[in-house]
Symmetry: C2
Subunit: 328 residues, 2 copies
DNA sequence: CTGAAAGCGCTAACAT
DNA sequence: ATGTTAGCGCTTTCAG
């Protein structure tokens, strides 16, 4: 059931079958009909691998994610997959399981199997990224940028978001804040820290301390004691997941939110609005991100040109119940 | 930078390069070294498409899911992807966006690009599934079974789980129960209904009514009034997501859980234990599912034999705060 | 408008 | 032990 069978059944050459299957209109109508009849009779569908080899393209793009259990990457994957599907492209996944040394290898492999790669590599060093990027073209970066090679980047402005959250706490009267940090080597954690530097420059009278945290529910949960002891009244947590963990830990210790402590998350995950109390957070338009990632990829595939600016996504602050006026 | 370049640089034939790249030990050590030197000099990596065409395999498996935003399928995808990666296989995604007519087409396409397909098609009719299954071999089914063709199936015993949840409510003294249903055509909803039939047979004195619901947060939320009005004191909800929606809606209406109403979910999603109150639910070992799906797939790929039994996964009941004794 | 033939990059049987 | 050759399934020049 290859092209040859259809050809012999229709009494024509492979070439003609190929032409018909690809909608080449220079084929005689009668012959085309005969070919189509044979094809549907044999339920023939062109072999994509053969096609890929001949055409030099696979109609597939790869996405490298550090961790598929992270809702952010799930949402990007979903947006990307749906957008790509609309244009007849498929998505191949590579989960690096948070092992940054694997990211480069996986990305390279994915690139060889696919027509392009979307890379989410928050832990990779800048140097490695600069070296890797040119070998991956067409490439779309998520939450990273490159200096040497121009590469379309989609970056969420975490610094801006956390500044706004901090300013919100100040507005509520909080003067002692703490940031429960994310993973040390996380690029987006660094961006938040930079944003907080600007914040302290702008509000020199506000005290801001840093508590080591993480990006997991458990990390947040286990920071409860440190947070409770630190004396701050407004807590900026790395992300929603950790914030929920903290929320849970605080609740177990009888510390009320927002009466005793105000708390902010980051990401606006689906369930952030349904925690108790609902989480004040910064909404990241992640499904748009996946969608736009595909558009940037398509541009490169179509025009063969990587010259595309970095897109910054300003988070939208969602004021909910986990923040309130400082205790008198 | 294909195999030919390496061959000419090393002064040997393509065939020898191929042998070296594939670890064929019959190659002279010196020549092998020369080839490897040339390969690394040119940063040569075999083209997977060419390889696939020659070998008739792609080292890729496809997974068809109805909706990537559903935590269940995310977890299966993740488990599958990680397990497959351990054996050097990659995963190609096809999201049917809950359009059941797309499922068959996507599955067929995926199969042509991949060495096998894992199919999650809860909405597809039995007839369509029976027809499709033989064309997809090697195939692993999730939460579906076939009659005509033997196909490895992994099915969560939803009927068993919901029976146990209902029995738990009875034990707490509830005599008026309601089931907030899932999507009509969902196979797993049908299984729950069957389980509930057995339940009513076993507990004829317990009243059980059915309220149309859905599988989304909003569906649960919007059912709040119907649930509040139905007179039941124990509510079995299709899944955790809908249960959280209902929880939220009830809370807005001032109905307390579990004091006024007991509530159960299904799936034990990551955040089920962190709702307010924490959700009593049936835990489905979904990441094991992804893992096992890969093992079943690998068996078929290796032995070329589909004869594998259906695996039933009994859910584990998680008793939490959303269920309590019936109001006196 | 159609067929013959080359070629995409690789593997493997065959021959030396 | 290595090179030559065929072939995986398809597209696409090139002749006719």
């Amino acid at each position: 059931m290859g092209i040859a069978d259809v050809a012999s059944m229709a009494g024509v050459s492979h070439a003609t079958v190929s032409r018909v299957m690809n909608g080449n209109t220079t084929v005689d109508a009668d012959i085309a009909a005969r070919v189509r009849a044979a094809a549907s009779e044999l339920k023939y569908k062109p072999n994509p691998v053969g096609r890929s080899l001949a055409l030099g393209k696979t109609d597939t793009i790869g996405i490298v994610v550090p961790d598929l259990s992270n809702p952010t990457f799930q949402a990007i994957l979903r947006g990307l997959s749906i957008a790509a599907a609309r244009d007849g492209y498929r998505v191949l996944i590579a989960d690096s399981s948070e092992v940054s040394s694997e990211e480069a290898i996986l990305a390279g492999e994915a690139r060889r199997r696919c027509d392009g790669v979307v890379l989410c590599a928050p832990r990779m060093s800048d140097a490695d990224l600069e070296e890797l990027a040119p070998t991956l073209y067409p490439l779309v970066l998520i939450n990273r940028t490159t200096e040497s090679v121009p590469t379309p980047s989609l970056v969420v402005d975490y610094g801006q978001g956390i500044q706004e959250l901090a300013a919100h706490l100040v507005e509520l009267g909080h003067r002692k804040l703490a940031y429960l940090t994310g993973p040390d080597r996380s690029a987006s954690n660094v961006q938040r820290l930079r944003g907080l530097e600007k914040f302290t420059a702008e509000f020199p009278d506000v005290e801001l301390q840093f508590i080591p945290g993480g990006n997991t529910f458990d990390a947040g949960f286990e920071s409860s004691d440190a947070v409770a002891a630190c004396g701050a009244t407004g807590i900026l947590v790395f992300n929603d997941v950790a914030a929920m963990g903290l929320l849970s830990g605080l609740s177990e210790r009888g510390i009320r939110v927002p009466e005793d402590l105000s708390l902010t998350g980051f990401d606006d995950m689906p369930f952030a609005r349904y925690t108790m109390p609902p989480l004040t957070t910064a909404a990241v338009p992640i499904s748009d991100l996946g969608d736009l990632a595909w558009r940037r990829m398509r541009e490169q595939i179509q025009t063969n040109d990587a010259a595309s600016p970095t897109n910054y996504f300003p988070p939208r602050i969602e004021l909910r119940g986990s923040t309130g006026p400082v205790k008198a």
